[in-house]
Structures are given as C-alpha cells and as structure tokens.
Amino acid sequence: MMAGFQYFPHTDSDIQAMLKRIGVKSLDDLYADVPEEFIYKGEYDLPDAMTEQEVREFFEGLAAKNPRLKVFAGAGAYDHYTPAVIPYITQRSEFLTAYTPYQCEISQGTLRYIFEYQSMICTLTGMDVSNASMYDGPTAAAESMRMSVAQAKKKNTVLVSSTLHPQVRGVVRTYAEYSGVTVREIASCNGQTSICSLEELMQEGDVAGVIVPSVNRFGIIEDLAGFADIIHAGKALFTVYCDPSALAVVKTPAEWGADVAVGDGQPLGIPLCYGGPYVGFMACRKDYMRKLPGRIVGETRDREGRRAYVLTLQAREQHIRREKATSNICSNESLMALWVTVYLSLMGPEGMRRVNDLCYQRSHYLYSRLLGTGKFEAVFPDAVFLKEFVLKPLVPVRDLQQRLSDAGFFAALETEEGYVSFCVTEKRSIADIDALVNALES
C-alpha cells in the first residue's frame, strides 16, 4: 500500500497494528464521521510527486528566469548587507523549528533573544517598552492607529502624513475602514510633513492619533520639532514611523516627543526576498505598555532564583481575552526578530555608524552624478537625505527605467508626483554607481 515517502515513517505493518489498536479496519474508516459526499474521490490536480533533486532543479529553473539586477531602489525595502553569521544562527533547528515559547522551561533560547530584541528596539527608538514583533512595518503602523483610537475613547480620526510610504498609508486605511475609523492625510510642504496642515487638521478635532515618518518616502530626514506639542495639546497619540537602521544616527522618536515608534526591521540586514518575511517593530512609552498588541517577554526568576524569561502581560492577548484583546495577532515574525538581533549584535554602535556613513557618502555621490547628466532636476535642494532621494526626470520615466534595467539595474521608481527615486546602500560600490550613471549617459 505504501510507496515509501521520506517524510512519512509508517510501514504497512505499523499502519495495520495502529488500526487494530484503534479498532477499525482501514484508514478510510477513520473518516466514517464525514458525510460520504464530502470525501474527495477525484484525482488531485497536482503534479506527480517530485524527488528532492527534481524539486531543487525545478526551483533553480524558475530562479534562472528572473533577471538579476543590482538594486538602487528603496521605497520601504532596503538592500543592506547580510553578515554570514546570521543565517548560520537562524538556521539552527532549535530556533528554526520551535513553536511560540509557551513552555518557557524549554524555550529560554527564544525568550532570551526576544528580550534582547526588545532591548535593542528600545535603545534604537528611545522608547521604554517594545513588543516581540509584528508582521511588518505597515501592519505595525495599522496597530498604532488602532491603539490610538482605543486609548482616545470617543475620538475616531487618525492623521497620516502624506510623506509616509504608500504601502504604510494603504494598510492603515484598510484596517481603519473596517473599524469605522476616519483616516485623513496631512499635506506635505517641501517634501516634509507640513506642520501647518497638521495644526489645521488638529483644530478640526476628533483626532485620536497622528502617524508621521522620521525618514520619509522621499528619503528626507524630517524635522519634527514642534509636532509633539501640537499633537499632545489635542490629546492625541503621536506615532513616528521609522527606518531602524537610520535610527542609529537620526533623532529618535523619543527625542521628538513621540508616544509610539513603529517601522519595519527589514533594513537591519534582512534580505529583500520579494517582500517577506520581514519584521514589524512596535515600541511605546511606559504609560501605554498595557495597550501594546502582541507578545512581550519579561524577566523573572525560577524556583532556584536563577534568571529566567517568560511571556508576560498576556491579559492583552487573544488567547486570553478573545474579542477584547488589544489585537488579533498570534504568530508574529519571531525568527526575523532573531535575525535583526544578531545583526545589531554584530554591527554594534560602530558598525551602525559605518553603514549610515557609507549610505550617506555614496547616495550623495550618485545624487550629484545624476544631476550632472542633465537628465534630472533637483526637487528638494535644501532637504537632508540619508540614503534615498528623489529627482524630477527630464526624460520619460519608462525610457529611463528600461535603459537602467537593460544595463542590469533596478532603479528610478516613480513616485505619486512623477518623480523618480534612487537608493544607495553600503552594498553598492562607487564603481556600481559610475556604471549606472554611464548607462544613462551612453
């Protein structure tokens, strides 16, 4: 009966012995409670079972069909270098093949790295408390929208800056739509969130929360001075959406006076991988600790007084509170939290400074080289950027993108305004940059 499949250990005699203990005659008898009409009798529309080698070759074939381009694009996903140590650690099966650390006595490894992760997110953002991770940056922003409305009781509007990445605004809008929350956009001025527009919208009332980027979709480091006062005067929650890699250098959400910090951990050495898995992060001031969604790890002692770690403050969560939970999140992105924890351990303060310096130096080099081609105009000449910037193209965007892609580059993403954006990480060399510019000039 059995053909022998490597993941199923059962021999024919095993099956017979087990059926006998159960007191039935066949495997089909185990489905006697299923109405006959629901037993699928057709042939499954699946390929013939492949061997491991065939599967490997199948995917190698698919992989070969994708063009290999050097990435000079960001837009919320950044091509930073991944040290070799990280996959080596995250592939350790004790981490990889574990479930959520419910049985804390045999999950101290997972619990300890989550505690370290929370500590690192706190020091990067300046916040007091971090959760154990969210799905991605945009969903973390959506959770901060929900948290704002939950703490504000009767107010039902959340403001999002128009300088946030479109995917962040999009996901916040989706979540808001079904919760009956109104989302309004704060206009931009010179590529930054307009403080005048913020004030006007705040004056209209009903604002429970405000979400503003630290480094925005034009790559500009925003000056958020004065924002906290305006937002807090309106008794709203102030959330800053940030790039955690940039936070090693730029002013922290806490320094801007924010209540909540959210963002995507992907720039901390997580491969682009066509969009996931990444890891959302979410941290807040102590006052809002019990309103945070998701898991949180805390430190305590075992019966012998040894330091031990546990999932804590669980009265916020779905498995305890069901419909009254702060969120429906259950599985998060734990292994990717380990990924960024190992990354930040390797990099340390010095490594994070070097990454940002290299990004700054090389992106500014590309910026001036591109302006030198005569095919672009500056859009925000006075703005401060870190690794990503936009230019106004003087040639058709489609031609530009085609030419770059033919030369082996993924770059010049078009923004809502018709600008094109470029991003340079430390992975792109000066030679790469020169080659990109040459491709445009040739």
């Binding site: 053909a3 993941y7 199923f8 250990p9 012995a17 109405p35 629901f38 699928y40 499954y44 492949m50 491991e52 069909k65 994708n66 381009l69 990435v71 919320g76 650690i89 350790r92 004790e94 479930y99 045999i106 101290q108 370290e116 020091t123 408390v129 969903t139 962040v168 996901v171 989706t174 000056d223 936070l247 002013k251 991988c273 066509y274 969009g275 996931g276 898995p277 990444y278 805390g298 305590t300 804590t312 403050l313 009265a315 509170r321 069901r322 939970a325 969120s327 429906n328 259950c330 599985s331 998060n332 734990s334 190992v342 351990s345 303060p349 400074r353 310096d357 290299l358 130096q361 401060v384």
Partner: protein, 466 residues
C-alpha cells in the same frame, strides 16, 4: 540542555565589533554632515562584541531551546510536523532572496504564485488565493474583510454580526473584533459539535457569516456541516473556514466541497514551513468563485511572506498527487492511536473517532487524597519536559477545565508514539502514587518553573545596565 546566563549586552567591551564594513573615505562627507538638530544625541546602547562572541552566545541560547528537530512536539492545533531541509535551501537561493518587492517582469516569481495558487486550490476546493496575509490570524482578518466587502458590494450594509462557536481558537473572535464585527457565540452541544438548534435562532439578515473550524478544536468533525452551510447560506451569510485544523483533511476532504466560501491556510502548520519560535508564518486566503473580485484587500506592505511560500510550494511538489492522499490520514491515524492507548489513564470526555487531534480532560487519578493536592494538567505538561517531550497544548479549548490537547502529525513514527504513550502512562502512575513529583517538575530543564506573577506585576522588559 544546559543553563547559560548571559545576555549579549553583558558580553560587551568598548571597542569590539563584529562588523566587517569599511569606514567611509576620509575626505567624504558622512552622517556628521547631517545638521545636529536632526541627529540623535547619544549612540544607541548596542552591544560591542566580536563575531566569535556572537556565534558562541547564540549557540548557547539555542541549546536552551526545543524544536521539532529536538524531539516529539505534540502541541495541539499547532501541527508541528517535520520541516524538510530542502525547503530551506530553496528559500535561501540568492536568485529569489535578492529580489526587490517592487520588481516586475519576474517570470520565475510569477510561476511560484500561480503554481502555489493552483495547488492550494486543488487541495482545498477553493477558486483562488491571496498571499498577502502573513500569518493565520492575519488571514482570518483578511477573510472577514472579504466577507464584509462582498455584502457591501451588494448594497447589503447591515450584516455586521458574525457567529463564532465557543470552541473556536481565540484568534477568531479577536479577528472579528478587529474587522469591526459583532461576535455572536454559538454553543457546542454535549457531543462537542456546533449545535444546529442553537444556531437557527441566531440567523437573520444582520449575520455576515459564521467562522468554523472543521475538524473543530476538540478534533471532531462537524458532521452537520451540510445542514449548517444550508442554513447560513439561506440566511444570506457566508461560511469562513479556519484552516488551522486543515491537516487531517489534506488529501481526503476539501473545505470548498463542504460549502465554505472563504478560508485561510497556515502554511507554517499544514504545509511544513518552520514555526521559527513564533513566526514567520503565511496565511493565504482562498475564496470561492463569486468572491474572487474581492481578493485584493490590502493587508500588508508588499507581496506576503514570499520566502515562506517558496518552502510550502516545495513541500507540495514533493507530496505530489500521490503522497497528498496519505497526509491527513496518517495524521489522523496517529491521533486516534494515542487516544485509544491512553484513555484508561487520562479522562476522555468525547470518545468518538477524532481527526488530527483530541482532548483529554486531565488525569483519571490525579493522586489527590486527604490533605494532598492532586496533579493538574499543568503538572503533567511540565513533567513531560523532564522526559524530553514538548508538552501538548493545555487549558484549551475552554470547554474542559483540565484540557490536554494532543496532535501528533503524520511525520511521527509508531515507535515515537509508543515511547510517548509509555511516558504518559508512567506520568499517570507517578501522579497516582506521588503527585509531588509532577508538581515539582520540570526537574531536568535549564530553568525550573519561573515566577510568572512577579514578571507581570513588576515588569522587566528590557536590559538595563546595572
């Protein structure tokens, strides 16, 4: 497993680094050129450690952890099946891992989305899937949004109530709440199934649908599903299938054939991708033909967890049309085998044939006698850790006070199940003679039971330098 007491921060020495990046050129402007008003005042307090420090530290942490590769993991409703290693190699292929999420014209990627969509449709009887949801609960939320979109697109605006059985996973009511739906609970009957009689009066033109788990969290097949589907559909509602318990149906029963309109799958349960200590998962949502126009709800940043999809697709290709037929059946075989082998020493409230999992309600003899407290389900769970097993899911579902929910999966051999059964019987013997052994457990793990009350009352949630 051995106890190791360091945090990475405690290994830090000023001047060390594990980073191999060059410094920027001396004459070029770096981040110092950013105006001071935009820069942080102090560097982040990250550890300063060398690469060997990092490797030894995380290796030591991993040695305090238990995964599926460490041993049997009968965690109910979590489907802890073996995670094939080839899948990891495929997900790490640079030609996939280096792709930017906004790149287009990627025929190799498109083939993965289309191939996986078609395979999941074949296995579930659904028409098409969206892959944007990043986990099961995220899929539930997405599916409920699709249900609401459907009703609203027909101008049917007042359907804002959703029926959820009392045995449902906690994520069901939580997802419904996030979706802005009002939860109406339907009770289970004495047989542990959704009561059709209790359901009938709940159905009216304000009901958006019903969320069902089939088999349910007791591991029992909801055999009245045809009647339930008819009643809900007649009332204008839709049926949502919680795919957390899909494993026993793989290769034998298709949710689409039972009348379900929307469902999610947990690729990290049913389709063998690793749980990663709590994620990443992937929760694709499948719908029937009439809901396909609403599949586009925008619930995550880019294209879903592509890396997880690659693993699941590789697994399905290895199952193929031949092995898929045995997947659910062997999972069901294992669960019934354990149930029948232990029902004399653990209380079995519902005795009928189960699917991939089943629930005991504590020990038959917990060892309590005058003045001596008996062993609880928690004590049994902790004692299992001493014997080298992960514990089952405990105190869920909430229908029983001492619930022990056991799910073995199809990748466990008879020898593994026999050894587990032997240990469970031995623990039952220990409880009967000296429950203290269980109450003091675990004895052989890196730490003993931590003080969770203090952890919650006086939260320490990050490293603070002494």
């Amino acid at each position: 497993m051995k106890y190791y007491d360091k945090l990475i921060f405690e290994l830090s020495r000023e001047g060390r680094t594990g980073c191999s990046l060059p410094s920027k050129c001396d004459s070029c402007a770096g981040t110092d050129a950013i105006p001071a008003g935009l820069r942080r005042a102090q560097p982040a307090a990250l550890p300063e450690v060398s690469e060997p420090d990092v490797v030894r530290h995380y290796t030591a942490l991993s040695q305090m952890n238990f995964g599926v590769d460490s041993g049997f993991y009968p965690l109910g409703s979590c489907t802890m099946k073996y995670n094939p290693k080839i899948n990891e190699e495929i997900a790490a292929m640079p030609a996939f891992a280096a792709l930017h999420p906004l790149q287009n014209d990627l025929p190799g990627v498109q083939a993965v989305y289309e191939g996986l969509d078609r395979a999941l449709a074949a296995i579930t009887g659904m028409k098409h899937f969206t892959f944007k949801p990043c986990a099961g609960a995220h899929g539930e939320l997405t599916g409920l949004m699709i249900i609401r979109e459907y009703h609203m697109s027909r101008g049917d605006m007042k359907r804002t109530r959703i029926i959820v059985p009392d045995s449902a996973h906690g994520t069901n009511p939580a997802s419904a709440a996030v979706c802005g739906l009002e939860i109406v609970e339907v009770k289970s009957n004495a047989g542990g199934l959704v009561s059709v009689d209790d359901l009938k009066p709940l159905l009216d033109d304000t009901v958006a649908g019903i969320m069902m788990t089939n088999p349910n969290t007791l591991g029992l097949f909801e055999k009245d599903i045809r009647e339930i589907a008819r009643l809900v559909h007649d009332a204008g509602g839709l049926l949502y299938y919680d795919g957390a318990n899909m494993n026993p149906l793989i290769g034998t029963v298709r949710p689409g054939d039972m009348g379900f309109d929307v469902m999610h799958l947990n690729l990290h349960k049913s389709f063998s991708t690793p749980h990663g200590g709590g994620g990443p998962g992937s929760g694709p949502v499948g719908v029937c033909e009439k809901l396909v126009p609403h599949l586009g709800v925008n619930v995550s940043g880019f294209n879903g967890n592509f890396g997880v999809m690659l693993r699941a697709y590789a697994y399905i290709l290895m199952l193929g049309r031949q092995n898929v037929k045995l997947c659910g059946k062997l999972a069901t075989l294992g669960a019934n085998y354990i149930k029948e082998s232990l029902k004399d020493v653990y209380r079995l409230p519902l005795t009928q044939v189960c699917k991939h999992e089943f629930v005991f309600d504590g020990l038959t003899h917990d060892g309590s006698c005058e003045g001596r407290q008996g062993a609880t389900t928690l004590d049994v769970a902790k004692r299992l850790l001493d014997y080298g097993y992960h514990a089952p899911t405990i105190y869920f579902p909430l229908l029983f006070h001492q619930a022990i929910m056991i799910e073995p999966t199809e990748t466990e051999s008879k020898e593994t199940l026999d050894a587990f059964i032997g240990v469970m019987r031995r623990i039952a013997d220990e409880a009967a003679s000296d429950p203290g052994i269980l109450q003091g457990a675990p004895h052989n793990t890196p730490v003993s039971r931590p003080d969770e009350t203090t952890a919650a009352r006086n939260p320490i949630l990050k490293f603070q330098d002494a």
